[in-house]
């Protein structure tokens, strides 16, 4: 048996090679939760069990899900129509795998056989019942055992014949929908309800229509059904237009955004939807009670931020003109900026005397002469990569400076003024929008990033938050290989307070990203505003030690991977727990939020200066 965490990284890359964009993988508890052990359609695009017997099994189950073009939605999960459609599409995909992916055929045969063995005998081909359920079981068995339906006659034979239409080489998801509709008519005498909208859709609306040979005579083009269905036009609302996986995901993307920060969500269910274009990663978590890792415990959902504040950087520069100049001056003095003299070069600015003398004596002695006689000056390139990891927990929305109590000084009664026409109260004073902790943190990071960009250093800006181990949110403001541009600054500006602080997995993910960067010095700077905490960070919600130990472990692993981690915390009580989390000298506690930019710069320069 292997666990999903062992193969998750490579499998999600494998999946991405099919779709051309990130594929979010959802974990289900065991194999019964996904094809081929169940024909119940998965609510999520791609679901894999937490454990399977081999990597090959994972791969075939994943491949099968990737090639599906039609998937039912939750409304349809339990209905016959959903099951029929799912079974038909599954049958089609298996044929496609046998045809186009010969290398996976053996795996397919193996898992299908294992699943077919689980179909109870009385539902198998031996039974005589003609009930819809029995025929469905027969079809399922027929599909899994790959075309050996045995002796069938009457309605059963017709059903199998209709079912096998999807084996044609040109069959697409659309063919599956037609076949499913025919089967519904055959088995339940009902094709009007579930598929009416699909069949009756005017093909002209959806671009070029390609007539098919289907006995129903409808014309549907070869795209995915998501283009055909209009959710408003559906009878009974059984199929909706989110048959396409990506639409489904994007529709749900905003659902979680609308929750007020800090609200208690149910524990990770595995059925939570993912924003479109997000990538998922699975990490272990350190359980200090058991002194071992919990394998594949956390799922990190990485998403690219995008913002529309294209003036963000100018705002930051304007707020800290002096500090900016100071950072720039200090940066230029960093040691690695010096010129390096390269002796014995072919070309250069000055003669290398040693080499010249050697060349003359060599020549006199009749030895071969080395003609590299110059000294070249090279600008040594700095080789530092820095990742900033910013805490985006809900608490960062608190004001950076506690509001001072209002004092009413104007006690003069306007009626005392002989020139007054009556009481004129002062207009409420114009106040700047309250600066929150997150705003200061963003400013501090942006200032540093700006300086690093000018220096030509590699840097990345990430934010993290999340709710529960299944949804650790990792927001990318700027990644190492993103170009610095107005867009990247706007993305950094778009960081906003979200939910909880599960720091361990975020640190692990940032570590993984830093590990992929080629640089001799790698820095990870975590900017947070309090304890690592989450709804299920530890066995007991109030167990603060669990999160700290997990974070400490993640930071230790980062150090072992050649990364220098630093924690900067805005929290007057920070000393206590940071000492557990970080090695000495690797942390900084700030009680005055507004001093963060200065302190961060000092920390950075101090690190590189020594």
């Amino acid at each position: 048996m292997i666990s999903l965490s062992e193969v998750h990284a490579s499998l999600s890359l494998f999946a991405e090679s099919f779709t051309g964009q990130p594929v979010a993988i959802t974990t289900v508890e065991d194999t019964r939760g996904c094809w081929p052990w169940t024909e119940a359609p998965a609510a999520q695009p791609v679901s894999l069990p937490a454990h399977m017997e081999s990597r090959a099994s994972y791969r075939i189950v994943l491949l099968h899900q990737l090639l599906r073009q039609v998937g039912a939605v939750s409304d349809l999960l339990a209905s016959p129509a959903g099951q029929v459609l799912d079974l038909v599409e599954s049958h089609r995909v298996m044929a496609e795998i046998r045809r186009d992916y010969p290398g996976a055929t053996e795996d397919l045969r193996r898992v299908a056989q294992a699943a077919a063995a689980g179909v109870p005998a009385h539902e198998g081909p031996g039974g005589l019942a003609e009930s819809a359920a029995a025929i469905m079981a027969l079809l399922r068995w027929h599909s899994l055992s790959q075309g050996s339906a045995g002796q069938t006659d009457g309605k059963r034979a017709t059903a199998v014949a209709v079912f096998d239409q999807v084996l044609r080489a040109d069959a697409t998801g659309r063919t599956s929908v037609q076949v499913a509709s025919e089967l519904m008519a055959l088995l339940y005498g009902d094709d009007s309800l579930a598929f009416a909208a699909l069949i009756d859709a005017d093909p002209d609306e959806y671009g070029e229509s390609v007539p098919t040979e289907s006995s129903t005579g409808v014309s549907l083009d070869g795209g995915t059904p998501s283009e055909v269905v209009d959710s408003d036009g559906l009878a009974g609302g059984q199929l909706s237009n989110d048959l396409s996986e990506h639409d489904y995901a994007s529709q749900q993307a905003d659902e979680s955004e609308s929750l007020p920060p800090g609200i208690d969500l149910p524990k990770a269910s595995g059925l939570r939807s993912l924003p479109a274009r997000s990538r998922t990663y699975v990490y272990d978590e350190w359980d200090y009670h058991r002194r071992q890792h919990r394998p594949a415990w956390c799922r990190v959902i990485e998403e690219q931020l995008s913002g529309n504040d294209h003036d963000f950087l100018n705002g930051v520069r304007a707020r800290y003109p002096q500090l900016r100049a100071q950072i720039r001056r200090s940066m230029l003095r960093l040691p690695a900026q010096q010129l390096v003299r390269v002796h014995r070069s072919l070309d250069g600015d000055e003669l290398d005397l040693d080499a010249a003398i050697e060349a003359v004596t060599d020549r006199r002695a009749g030895a071969p002469v080395d003609d590299r006689l110059q000294i070249r000056r090279d600008r040594a390139s700095r080789d530092v990569a820095t990742a900033f990891l910013v805490d985006l927990s809900a608490s960062t929305s608190s004001p950076a400076v506690p509001p001072e109590p209002e004092v009413f000084e104007n006690t003069a009664d306007p009626m005392d003024d002989p020139m007054s026409h009556g009481p004129v109260w002062d207009a409420p004073p114009v106040t700047d929008p309250v600066r929150r902790v997150i705003d200061v943190a963003k400013d501090a990071v942006a200032l540093m990033a700006d300086a690093l960009h000018e220096l030509g250093d590699l840097y990345a800006v990430y934010g993290f938050s999340g709710t529960g181990r299944d949804a650790v949110e990792f927001k990318v403001g700027k990644d190492f290989d993103d170009r610095t541009s107005t867009t990247s600054w706007a993305s950094i500006g778009a960081m906003k307070p979200l939910r909880y602080t599960r720091m361990g997995p975020a640190v692990r993910h940032a570590t993984a990203k830093l590990a992929m960067v080629a640089a001799s010095t790698k820095l990870l700077i975590v900017v947070s505003d309090g304890y690592p905490q989450d709804v299920d960070y530890g066995h007991d919600r109030n167990d603060r030690d669990y999160g700290m130990h997990d974070t400490a472990r993640a930071l230790l692993d980062a150090t072992n991977a050649g990364i220098e981690p630093f924690c900067v915390t805005i929290d007057p009580a920070g000393h206590d727990y940071l000492r557990v989390m970080c090695p000495d000298g690797r942390y900084l506690v700030i009680d005055d939020v507004e001093s963060l930019p200065e302190e961060l710069a000092r920390l950075y320069l101090g690190t590189l200066g020594d």
Binding site: S10, S17, P102, G103, A359
Partner: protein
Amino acid sequence: MDGPFYLPLADEMAVFEAAVAARLPVLLKGPTGCGKTRFVEHMAWRLGRDLATLACHEDLTATDLVGRYLLSGDETVWMDGPLTRAVRSGAICYLDEVVEARKDTTVIIHSLTDHRRVLPIDKTAEMLSAHHDFLLVISYNPGYQSVLKDLKPSTRQRFVSIEFDYPEVEAEAVIVETETGVAHDTAVRLARCGAQARNLRERGFEDGVSTRLLVYAAHLIVQGVVPRRACEAALVQAVSDDEDLQRAVADIVDVIFP
């Protein structure tokens, strides 16, 4: 008629020929191994010109291009560099991956690529006017995203740009088949592997599996290596050192080949 094989994918040949006729320098843009060098070789052959190809690297200086004095006995002798030779003889000079070279090379490129068409050789105090047929072609891979290694607008705007990318599966299969004589079926499978692996371009390897690598794999197959092993050697190991990425590419090969 036996020139280097090149399968045109769009109108790149016509544009190149027009640029040659107008004596305009050409910039070829595109990922590694997609056929830029082959294209230049093919065009040089079509036009009947000599070709000097120079692979640029971090330590390539203007001197390496222009020439230098070498010690010879008791004296120094001037030695023309490859660019100078091409400028004198009217060949096509192809600077591959020009952004890799040191910054001092841009100075020479600038004077050669505008109306002046001269090569200043400061060590011999010579202003060498380019031969009528001389043509400068440079290539540039925008995939390498480094601020420090970007082509400056002032350089870029002196060239006619032709953009290249990896061909579609069908065209790539034809290329692989023609280059190596591998069975059509296998060529299509290789091209499918390539196309799928290129979907991972953003993930750690900028350039994806190149057509060149697919041709290598096909060569190995023609030599009798089992397809899976050939792909392992030519594609999987070549694209990245990242284990997960290798594993994913190996999986693609594994499911596509029987």
